[in-house]
Amino acid sequence: MSAIEIKIGNRTEPVEIIEIKGNKIRISLGIKEFCLDLVKVEDNIYSILLEGKSYDIEVAATKKKNVYSVRYINNAYNVEIVDAELRYYQNRLKSAGLSEENIISCPMPGKVVRVMVNEGDSVDTGDVVIVVSAMKMESEYKSGKTGKIKEVLVGEGDIIDANMPLIVLE
């Protein structure tokens, strides 16, 4: 049974709650231990008092499993919670050839203007595969690797959600 880990960029830390008493929380993160007064004041906003300092921190789930977007004033983070389920899920995706680098998606909602490839086409790293427009601006999305197009999931004129898989590479 592996513990839960928290990941920001390349930093990964095991986390464990040591004690909870009302708002007061003792928690270990890597080798550090924190004693916090932590309370959820609004949906998506936590107020933390740590050694007297007051922090108002926003957090929201993203469309990616176990990934939270966290912001404090000017600092924004994507935080991933790595638990047993996520490890299993990521392994499964990998073994199905569906690891993230094989999927081309767009971080914003929009409308598909042009699909530049067909299933079976070969593409090189940097080839533009799809053009999406939103708010009167077009953006091009490129292949992150050299390979073959396995599946094209959208057509021209389709309205797409943010982070929706659009094109799958082999």
Binding site: M1, A3, I4, I6, I8, R11, E13, V15, E16, I17, I18, E19, I20, I27, L29, K32, F34, L36, L38, K40, E42, D43, N44, I45, Y46, I48, L50, Y55, I57, E58, V59, A60, A61, N66, Y68, V70, R71, Y72, I73, N74, N75, A76, Y77, V79, I81, D83, A84, P107, M108, P109, G110, K111, S133, A134, M135, K136, M137, S139, I159, A162
Partner: protein, 501 residues
């Protein structure tokens, strides 16, 4: 007097116009596309009429649909806002043909100012300085090269029918001239079906400074001073302020008079803006006139106290201006920051989507004009501007620091916004010193586009908060079954309790 106004626009500006209507006791009619059923302008209006599907070419840009909506609701006037049909002379004519008041200038004024070459000609006649260059369309390349030589490098070649940067070429030396000319022409014919160009002196460190004017149909024209709009990204203004930090009292008076002369020369009526380019030596040149309300009008409202939308409506009702030039003062300093749904670090890519949470700044000297609310989904079809934040201070320094404070109070969750980027502008020493021109964003891109430094320890707290949210999500999803780490904690605690007993 006008008793019901249809606002032929959407979002922020539609709501802003309705606010003034409400204060004047005038009923308001909203129009909306499929994508805009939940938009605040529909909710805020007294009446709301559906005018078509989401793309603006099938709704907000269809003249007949808007005129039908005005007729079916018995509206006696149409306010076009900015963008969409606001500078469309044909629309103004159609509206008036129906016996409906168009809140704006005559279609002749729109036409005269809409064509850049005719506008230059009229300005020259009115003794308003224009950027040195040709006035006429040039077809002959050899003639063009002569003109370029006469003006002196650098020069800008521009498509007569142009806009949006298309058909434009900057030329620094003679050897580039002919190629640039040819490629400008070919781009222009592709984009606008017209390959005529004109040639202008290129100003290397220009300021974009504009003057707000108000003109009634009784021959009275006043200006409401300048706005400095040099902070631009992709030729779009993002920060504006008034007074301009480079303005002198003498220049202000002179440019104000020229702005009035410009408006008079086209028999202007309503609210309008004369845009100038000003160089390092404070030479100023007419750039263009916007024959409508500007996005940045609130900073003028704040320092002069004049509600510009109310004045537009009064003028369109045939009233005389309530103010003379001597009644208008600049009191203090105002700045506007445009909040866009976009990702500045990612080439300003638009970021429509669902607003999960929004907290607007409050307090002394702060105004927000927006239209999004919690639970609203910003559509993909329209402009990414979601709100305008305006701060006022007795001094420029106070207005800047208040803007910074307000941007820090501004929380928008769910989408990316330009808020952090705007903070970095407010903290930039050259902006603070008032030393900037239209190249500001480019010049300072290293600092402006790099995310702010970590506040010590926040990364740890971010990890902890994400973990707490994860635990809560897990609790909700699993119907109370706590996830692993949580149960570890419980077990540990239980053990402790036992050992304590």
């Amino acid at each position: 007097m006008i008793s019901k106004i249809l606002i032929a626009n959407r979002g922020e500006i539609a709501v802003r116009i309705m606010r003034s209507c409400k204060e004047m006791g005038i009923e308001t009619v909203a129009v909306f596309s499929d994508a805009d059923r939940k938009s605040l302008h529909v909710r805020y209006a007294d009446e709301a009429i559906h005018i078509g599907s989401s793309p603006s070419t099938e709704s907000y840009l269809v003249k007949e649909k808007i005129i039908n909506a005005a007729n079916s609701t018995g509206s006696d006037a149409i306010h076009p806002g900015y963008g969409f049909l606001s500078e469309n002379a044909e629309f103004a004519d159609l509206v008036r043909k129906e016996g409906i008041i168009f809140i704006g200038p005559s279609s002749d004024s729109i036409r005269m100012m809409g064509d850049k070459i005719s506008a230059r000609r009229i300005m020259t006649k009115a003794d308003v300085p224009v950027v040195p260059g040709t006035r006429k369309k040039i077809d002959d390349d050899i003639k063009a090269l002569k003109v370029i030589k006469r003006i002196g490098y650098p020069v800008m070649i521009k498509a007569s029918a142009g806009g949006g940067g298309k058909g434009m070429r900057l030329v620094y030396k003679e050897s580039e001239s002919l190629d640039a000319l040819k490629s400008a022409r070919s781009e222009a014919i592709d984009a606008f079906g017209d390959d005529s160009v004109y040639i202008e002196k290129y100003l290397s460190k220009p300021h974009h400074i504009e003057f707000q004017i108000l003109a009634d149909r009784h021959g009275n024209v006043i200006h409401l001073y300048e706005r400095e709009c040099s902070i631009q990204r992709r030729h779009q203004k993002i920060v504006e302020e008034t007074p301009s930090p480079i303005m002198t009292p003498e220049l202000r008076q002179e440019m104000g008079e020229k702005a009035i002369a410009a408006a008079r020369s086209v028999n202007y009526e309503g609210a309008g803006t004369i845009e100038f380019l000003v160089d390092e030596n404070l030479n100023y040149y007419f750039l263009e006139m916007n024959t409508r309300l500007q996005v940045e009008h609130p900073i003028t409202e704040r320092v002069t106290g004049v509600d510009l939308v109310k004045e537009q409506i009064r003028i369109a009702s045939g009233e005389k201006l309530a103010y003379e030039q001597a009644d208008i003062f600049q009191d203090g300093h105002a700045i506007e920051c445009r909040i866009y749904a976009e990702d500045p670090e990612n080439n300003f890519m638009p970021s429509p989507g669902l607003i999960r949470k929004i907290t607007e700044p409050m307090g002394f000297g702060v105004r927000t004009d927006g239209y999004v609310y919690e639970g609203y989904e910003i559509p993909i079809y329209y402009d990414p501007m979601i709100s305008k934040l305006i701060t006022w201070g007795r001094t420029r320094d106070e207005a800047i620091i208040r803007m910074l404070r307000s941007l820090e109070e501004y929380y928008i969750m769910g989408i990316r916004t330009s808020i952090d980027f705007l903070k970095r502008i407010m903290e930039n020493p050259e902006f603070i010193n008032g030393q900037y021109d239209t190249h500001f964003i480019d010049t300072h891109k290293e600092k402006l586009f790099c995310p702010s430094e970590d506040i010590a320890g926040t990364e740890d707290l971010a990890m902890i908060v994400a973990f707490m949210e994860y635990l809560e999500d897990a609790k909700i999803k699993k119907n109370g079954l706590p996830p692993q780490s949580f149960s570890n904690w419980k077990m540990r605690n239980r053990k402790r309790n036992i050992s304590r007993q």
